[in-house]
């Protein structure tokens, strides 16, 4: 049976269908999970997709983190379940305290939609498992508040414990230490600003995102089996 991935939808989320499409190409079966849901037990993995949850009003992720589903996501993550937040999903995860740090407006103070090149730094996270460190992937970003910030201690910790999983080669937003994606200590909760689901087909300009999505789907299958 295919890996079942719950794709969380807040009011204002807009990349949920794209995430479903990406997961499907990567071999998983995605299901939309409305933000009022409190049970995720039937899921093997969770994706929090991009968009503008609650309009991004106040701050990206600030209101979404109080949606009922986030408590369930917290439990799911605490039990070792794979959770990936893409773009707005990453912002939600930091607001919810499931990942460290915060986001501020892009350097340049403008929304940026553009292809970027990221380098895979470490491979113990659910989204980079099995990839070669140093692999370069061409994946687009699409955000206004995409500049990752954290205090020095957090940064030192992220580095020391190999939690920086992706770095930009052409930092589009001013993120500290060129961080494009991080994982928690255990590697099962991941946030990344680039949109791998937008790079799943050469027809769209790149299929590099599939490497990440496939890694995610197969490591989710492992978690379930194990």
């Amino acid at each position: 049976m295919a890996t079942r991935v719950g794709v969380v939808v807040f009011p204002g989320t807009n990349c949920e269908h794209d995430a479903l499409a990406g997961l499907e190409v990567a071999g998983a079966r995605g299901t939309l999970v409305w933000h009022t849901e409190t049970q995720l037990r039937t899921m093997d993995a969770i994706v929090i997709p991009g968009g503008f949850a609650h309009g991004d009003y106040l701050r990206p992720g600030a209101l979404a983190r109080f949606s009922p589903v986030m408590e369930a996501v917290g439990r799911f993550a605490a039990e070792g379940g794979p959770v990936v937040g893409i773009c707005n999903g990453f912002q939600v995860l930091t607001e919810a305290g499931l990942l460290p740090g915060a986001f501020v407006k892009n350097r340049g103070l403008k929304f940026v939609c553009a292809p970027t090149t990221v380098r895979v730094e470490v491979t113990h996270s659910v989204i980079t498992a099995g990839l070669e460190p140093g692999t370069r992937l061409c994946i687009p970003v699409n955000h206004f508040s995409g500049s990752y910030v954290c205090d020095e201690r957090t940064l030192a910790h992220l580095r020391a414990s190999n939690q920086v999983i992706l770095r930009y080669l052409d930092n589009p937003n001013g993120s500290i230490d060129d961080i494009a994606g991080i994982a928690n200590d255990a590697g099962n909760v991941v946030g990344l600003m680039p949109h791998p689901e937008r790079a799943i087909d050469e027809l769209l300009g790149s299929a590099d995102g599939l490497a990440l999505l496939r890694a995610f789907v197969s490591s989710s299958a492992c978690v379930r089996a194990g």
Partner: protein, 765 residues
């Protein structure tokens, strides 16, 4: 304003003429009350009634095999095949953007999206043709920044990709920027729904945002006329600018599409200009029924709103749906799920004369025939006059100006990368964008949530040429249509339908009416020649500043289709490798011209010029010469070139063997700019030989498309078979951009000039 109101009769203060008042009295058989007068005031405004342009618009061809819905509805709809229909519409939001660029543009996006999903279509793409004064002025930069950020923040957040547009700077827009927005959506053919009411006893349901005193603008005169409204003098000062809420709109889109999917809605209509007054009277009039609306049932954002305020408010993000009483509980339930407010505000009646009755807690406060509001405005056949001195302007041609000047510097001055604008737009959502902004046309997969599977693609482009239209609106708009169709060909799409946004000056100036009339005739003729229907449009008049009208600015959006979209089209960038050859398809010289360098030309007797420069970007930008004769256009020959290129590109897009490495049409800036853009895009230089001087480098003679190929003989053969002229003009390769005798620049330098041009002007310091 209040002083004027004290002196002026109410109807005039509301924008109605004395004759219009007489007409209203005739229609009603009595004097209207103040609320009724306000309803006529907004519904008979130029914006809502098209009273100055309607007579002319009738001359546009609107029929076509694929047309499911033509002009008159919220959007035009064509059958795209595979059970999918495509809805498209373009609109202006010029005046609000001039005073609050961010919100003005943002609400423009919101409004055009509603026009699309009101047809049952999911909005899939936006385009934004923009026109400003010179960016060397700080106020213009403020406008550009605000408009682009408004489109970006609303479009990105609501979740509709912006896949292209245009950016034009010209001093005629200094106090009157133009912000046009086009939206394209798709729907399963059987979800098509129209904005009409039916069935006595059915309910009129208001969906979305609460109603406040937004955008009441001119009508707020009623407050000062002492006719109620708790706001008093406050309302008069209220600006007619609204704040957009993309989050509300996003929920509204999902809720409305879910309601339509569930078959719960009989008719639906967005609330745009003139708010509830417009939505209720139009749905009733289209359905030939009556309607009762009780303003006390309308959810309010503000206290103490009078009936006229509720009826004319332009609060954003609202829709009016017609549902049966039996369906209402399910409608309520679905709306709750999407966190969208829904309230029954009225009922459909079987009143034989189709009256719209406005009630306030049950008491009738207005009672007028709905059709008299929606369709009863007088149609004006305003006087026309050709502007003085046009012949002299056309004769003042820059083509043979001497000396030629520094072509290398001129070319650099014409290069501009618009990505400063479009990088701020999400152009990729829905995973449909095969070709996004920055190319000749956008090319999208025809797919989306809820659509039947299809291999088809849909292409879209917007184009305009106000300078040309100022010299000759008839010929100018034909050239615009020709360019648009060529743009589509470059991504392999065949044009199928046209929408237009006619941005003009003050219609009370006979010269402006002449421009409008000529434009419509020119567009009608060109559409007939290319067998394209016009399926929708918008007219924006009174674009003027301190008495000066803008250049006539018809903006065309043209929709194209691709049968099989399996591979990316070649694009404009050529590739390095075994000698790709540059071939110019289409006549290299204007018909009838002699062709020898500098040919028949003493100044003063410029025509026929082989490489005309009248009205060209080069003449305006590099020589400040705005006049001259427009290049000739032969639509029959144009069609052949476009057909050939469409076939070649469509073949490669469909997965066939690609004969072309690169393709790009010659447009603004001429062959020089087209070649430079191809080189920059591919990152590879070129050597072009024996051009006929700077005129050939910068002429904007239409019907020419540049391609690169590694099989030039085969290509030339194909062109010959199709009756299309083809000439080898250069060879791709190396790291220099060379046009013999005219330009010799390193690719790095060329690319830097191109990519830095816009930023340098918009972000000085």
């Amino acid at each position: 304003m209040s002083v004027r109101a004290a002196e002026e009769p109410l109807h005039r203060a509301l924008g109605l003429t004395d004759d219009e008042l007489d007409r209203i009295v005739g229609l009603l058989g009595r004097e209207p009350n103040a609320l009724e007068l306000a309803l006529y005031g907004v519904m008979w405004s130029e914006h809502c009634s098209y009273k100055s342009s309607r007579l002319h618009l009738r001359r546009l061809p609107t029929a076509g095999d694929r047309v499911l819905v033509g002009p008159g509805e919220n959007a035009g709809v064509v059958d795209a095949g595979d059970g999918i229909a495509v809805a498209i519409r373009i609109e202006s939001h010029n005046h609000p953007s001039a005073i609050e660029p961010h919100q003005g543009a943002a609400t423009g996006v919101g409004g055009i999206l509603r026009d699309i999903f009101t047809m049952g279509a999911r909005p899939l793409a936006v385009m934004d043709p923009l026109f400003f004064g010179s960016p060397d002025d700080a106020r213009q930069r403020w406008l550009v920044e605000g408009v682009v950020s408004g489109i970006s923040s609303y479009g990105n957040s609501v979740g509709v990709p912006t896949v292209g547009g245009e950016l034009t700077f010209d001093s005629c827009y200094s106090s009157n920027p133009l912000v046009n927005v086009l939206c394209l959506g798709a729907l399963p053919v059987d979800r098509l729904v129209l904005g009409r009411a039916s069935g006595a006893g059915n309910l009129a349901v208001l969906l979305g945002a609460a109603t406040g005193r937004d955008g009441i603008g001119g009508v707020s005169i009623l407050a000062s006329a002492g006719l109620g409204g708790g706001s008093g003098a406050d309302a008069i000062k209220r600006p007619s600018v609204q704040v957009g809420d993309p989050f509300e709109e996003k929920r509204l889109i999902e809720a409305c599409l879910a309601l339509l999917d569930a078959g719960l809605v009989l008719g639906i209509q967005d609330l745009g200009g003139a708010g509830l007054a417009c939505a209720t009277s139009e749905t009733a009039a289209r359905g030939g029924v009556g309607m009762d609306v009780d303003v006390s049932s309308v959810p309010r954002r503000e206290l103490g709103m009078a009936p006229w305020e509720v009826m004319t408010s332009e609060s954003q993000e609202r829709m009016l749906a017609i549902v049966t009483p039996g369906a209402w509980p399910a409608v309520e339930e679905l709306c709750r799920r999407w966190e969208v407010r829904a309230a029954v505000v009225g009922t459909v009646t079987d009143d034989p004369s189709g009256r719209l009755r406005v009630l306030d807690r049950g008491a009738v406060v207005a009672d007028v025939p709905a059709s008299s509001l929606a369709d009863g405005a007088p149609l004006y056949d305003r006087p026309l006059r050709e502007p003085a001195g046009l012949d002299a302007r056309r004769a003042d041609d820059p083509t043979f100006d001497a000396p030629a000047g520094d072509s290398e510097a001129d070319l650099c001055a014409l290069l501009c990368d618009p990505s400063w604008v479009y990088r701020q737009y999400d152009s990729q959502l829905f995973l449909n964008t095969v070709v996004g902004p920055g190319a000749d046309a956008a090319l999208l997969r025809l797919a989306g949530p809820g659509l039947p599977p299809s291999e088809r693609g849909v292409a879209i482009t917007t184009d305009s040429a106000p300078r040309w239209c100022a010299i000759d609106p008839r010929q100018g708009v034909a050239l615009v249509l020709a360019e648009a169709v060529a743009n589509l060909a470059c991504v392999g799409a065949s044009a199928v339908a046209v929408v237009n946004c006619l941005n003009f000056g003050n219609p009370e100036h006979p010269e402006v009416m002449w421009q409008l009339s000529e434009t419509i005739d020119g567009l009608a003729a060109a559409c007939r020649a290319l067998e394209l229907p016009v399926i929708g449009g918008n007219v924006s008049l009174y674009n003027e500043s301190t008495g000066a009208d803008i250049d006539p600015t018809p903006v065309l959006g043209v929709l194209g289709l691709v049968e099989k979209l399996r591979r990316r089209p070649p694009g404009m960038g050529w590739v390095d490798g075994d000698a790709s050859t540059v071939v110019l398809l289409g006549a290299r010289r204007a018909p009838g011209a002699l062709g020898a360098p500098g040919a028949p030309g003493a100044p003063g007797a410029p025509s026929p010029a082989a490489h005309p420069l009248g009205g060209s970007t080069w003449a305006v930008t590099c020589r400040s010469r705005r006049h001259g004769a427009l290049p000739p256009l032969d639509l029959v020959a144009h069609r052949e070139v476009v057909r050939l290129v469409t076939r070649l590109v469509a073949d490669s897009v469909g997965g066939g063997d690609g004969l072309l490495d690169a393709v790009h049409d010659v447009s603004g800036g001429g062959l020089g700019v087209a070649l430079a853009e191809m080189a920059i895009s591919g990152g590879v230089g070129v050597r072009v030989e024996s051009l006929e001087g700077h005129r050939e480098l910068f002429s904007e003679l239409p019907s020419r498309i540049v391609v690169a190929t590694r099989r030039p003989d085969e290509l030339v053969g194909r062109a010959r078979d199709a009756g299309v002229p083809a000439e080898l003009v250069g060879v791709v390769g190396g790291s220099r951009f060379v046009v013999d005798g005219l330009v010799d620049l390193g690719m790095d330098e060329l690319a830097a000039v191109w990519s830095g041009a816009l930023r340098a002007r918009l972000e000085p310091v």
